[in-house]
Amino acid sequence: MGKFEYAPAPESRDVVALRESYGLFIDGDFVPGQGDGVFKTISPATEEVLAEVTEASPADVDRAVSAARRAYERTWSVMPGRERAKYLFRIARIIQERARELAVLESLDNGKPIRESRDVDIPLAAAHFFYYAGWADKLEHAGFGPDPRPLGVAGQVIPWNFPLLMLAWKIAPALACGNTVVLKPAETTPLTALLFAEICQQADLPPGVVNIVTGAGPTGRALVAHPGIDKIAFTGSTEVGKEIARAAGRRKVTLELGGKAANIVFADAPVDQAVEGIVNGIFFNQGHVCCAGSRLLVQESVYDEVLASLRRRLTTLRLGDPLDKNTDVGAINSPAQLAKIRELSDAGEAEGAERWSAPCELPVKGFWFPPTVFTGVSPAHRIAREEIFGPVLSVLTFRTPAEAVAKANNTPYGLSAGVWTDKGSRILWMASRLRAGVVWANTFNKFDPTSPFGGYKESGYGREGGRHGLEAYLDV
């Protein structure tokens, strides 16, 4: 079957008004950095420079932490929960009102398809603020004692794969519990965080409650090491997570780190649904997802059928302009990430796995990698052990449920897992044995503000979302 030809259906960029350069958001205002460091943020789909952004120095971080401390002591921690709640509801509403602007900006800066930023990232970010807003005046009923107290100033470092959504996961519960925050967005995707700063201004959020410092690793390190930080929250690589765990000392830390999830397909699973789940599991957001189903475990008896159907489905994926509403697979976020994906894919081939990529034309400019499937993968291969964080699927097989569990758990990670079967008792049996913080049964990559998310083992500790997510920001 030939691919349908689609006319381009680009979302308009007009809704976004980019500034030429951005300062830091400290104490309610955009201010220039004290050093002279700046960096450019580009569109990974075209390599077009979008804006110049300030690289926060340790002195800037110190200023932001002081502002957060003042706001914590004088305003936010003493404000009744019902008032804090109303600020958060306001923020949720403004995110909804400016949703299209945020979605376009996110796709521009990150490279993800507009379909995903519009239908997943931004609505979930708004929902997260709406959910935690409701907790702000009910904390005494959350099961952490009669008067749970906030921790103080939270230092938060977030990744580039879901920029605004990760911001929401961090800021909404922190503020609901009465903490103030200094947040560092990823250096390749700072723009929606800076637009969020404007949203805080529109919401009349008291100055200093939210501070945004842009920069790369050194800025993050300065933030985490700052003695004025009472709580550290980090989402990113396991390697940096361990560094943060060591730097944290006696402060409370939550870490949401890497993963190498198994997506397990049993012979009795409905193949078409499972294949949709496999595709969504690893090619959603170009595979830049910590909980991506990057290891496909297929029961031997349906291996041929599942693989044939998967390959057929992958030929229909549309890769290209992130702002095109028909696009399924967008750009790889950065040249560094593209290099990592290429390195691991080459290692997969060199170690003897068989590589197959969906036939698609890659744009000349920008950073791109075609949806790729490796078969004949052994559990010892690097592509079965290391997080690739790209659109690369490693396929392994199994015979018995016990073997599937053993292979799925054979990793230092433990963030998520998927199970596809028509048999209810087997789902529950598998779910209870998979060492992972989220188990998707007959679905994959579903997220909700009410649903706790986080890892076992080296995928980190603490939970984000739901009642559980409050604990990360309370002194309990």
């Binding site: 060591r246 000392g249 006696r250 989220v438 188990v439 679905t443 009410t450 649903s451 500790y461």
Partner: protein, 293 residues
């Protein structure tokens, strides 16, 4: 002289050994160290556990995880309750040992033992309730059934408090085992004897071998091996020296162990415990499934 007093009988002394995988080995290193009472009088020689003993204990604890965490919560509750029954039967012995170890009066020792027994009972009762308190059904915005449940994190290393030889030990071990974790406990270094006697209680109760392992010796020597062990999932630093705790936490980050730091309230083990220790050994697993016909 004693020969002239026929009523006096030479006591048969007990050899205080390690408790690993349900057995009572001496330290593989062949080492022991003298334990004295608070006045400096010799009480016994205790085994001085080595790195190898610690690693053996981790192996035993790992082996026991599947069975213990896979047992029904009702079963775990009953098994732990039975430990309390056996402790009650040895109340006099424990009182004497706590008294000798801690140098407290008879009344104080007795109340520490009573509190210890009551604490086992309290924790035993949590076995089939923690999931209801800690779990949740989550109302997601879509046609999905979504539930979050706590699960044991796995193998826990517990550095027991140095002062409270029995009540303190039980207060840090029970919250880990009740939810299905298995434990390697390092007993109070200078007051280890009540812990060894506790291991005899455990051996004759229904607690499966390897679920609770007890080491005696130098905390500072054993703790780093447990903190850096890649098959240990959590570590409680309560019994670590203040200046050692940060280094141990550092080593624990190698595989992102869950680290439990002592809290101010921990000085007084007689107070009613909060849930934070039980929580620290629990992971939360969230399961999604579509609803539909």
């Amino acid at each position: 002289m004693s020969e002239t007093v026929p009523a006096s009988r030479l006591a048969v002394r007990k050899t205080y050994k390690l408790f690993i995988g349900g057995a009572f080995p001496r330290s593989e290193s062949g080492r022991s160290y003298p334990v004295t009472d608070h006045k400096g009088n010799f009480l016994a020689n205790a085994a001085m556990a080595s790195r190898k003993d610690a690693r053996d204990a981790v192996t035993a604890a790992r082996k026991a995880v599947a069975g213990w965490s896979g047992a029904t919560a009702y079963n775990r509750g009953q098994v732990l309750y039975r430990v309390a029954e056996l402790l009650e039967g040895r109340r006099t012995q424990f009182t004497a040992e706590v008294r000798a170890a801690e140098g407290v009066g008879a009344r104080a020792a007795e109340s520490a033992v009573d509190a210890t027994i009551d604490r086992w009972v309290w924790y035993a009762g949590w076995a089939d309730k923690i999931s209801q308190v800690r779990g949740s059904a989550n109302q997601v915005a879509g046609p999905y059934y979504n539930i979050s449940l706590p699960e044991a994190t796995g193998v826990a290393a517990v550095l027991a408090p140095q002062d409270s030889s029995l009540l303190g030990l039980v207060s840090v071990v029970a919250p880990a085992v009740v939810s299905g974790n298995t434990v390697i406990a390092v007993a109070s270094e200078s007051r280890p004897l009540p812990a060894v006697t506790l291991s005899e209680v455990l051996a004759t109760s229904d607690v499966p071998g390897g679920v609770i392992n007890i080491l005696t010796g130098r905390t500072a020597e054993i703790a780093p091996w447990l903190a850096s062990h890649m098959d240990v999932n959590a570590i409680d630093l309560t019994g670590a020296a203040d200046d050692a705790a940060d280094d141990l936490a550092d080593a624990a980050a190698d595989n992102l162990k869950r680290v439990i730091r002592p809290r101010t309230a921990d000085g007084d083990w007689t107070g009613s415990p909060s849930l934070h220790r039980m929580h620290a050994y629990l992971e939360t697993k969230t399961v999604w499934h579509p609803t539909g016909i």
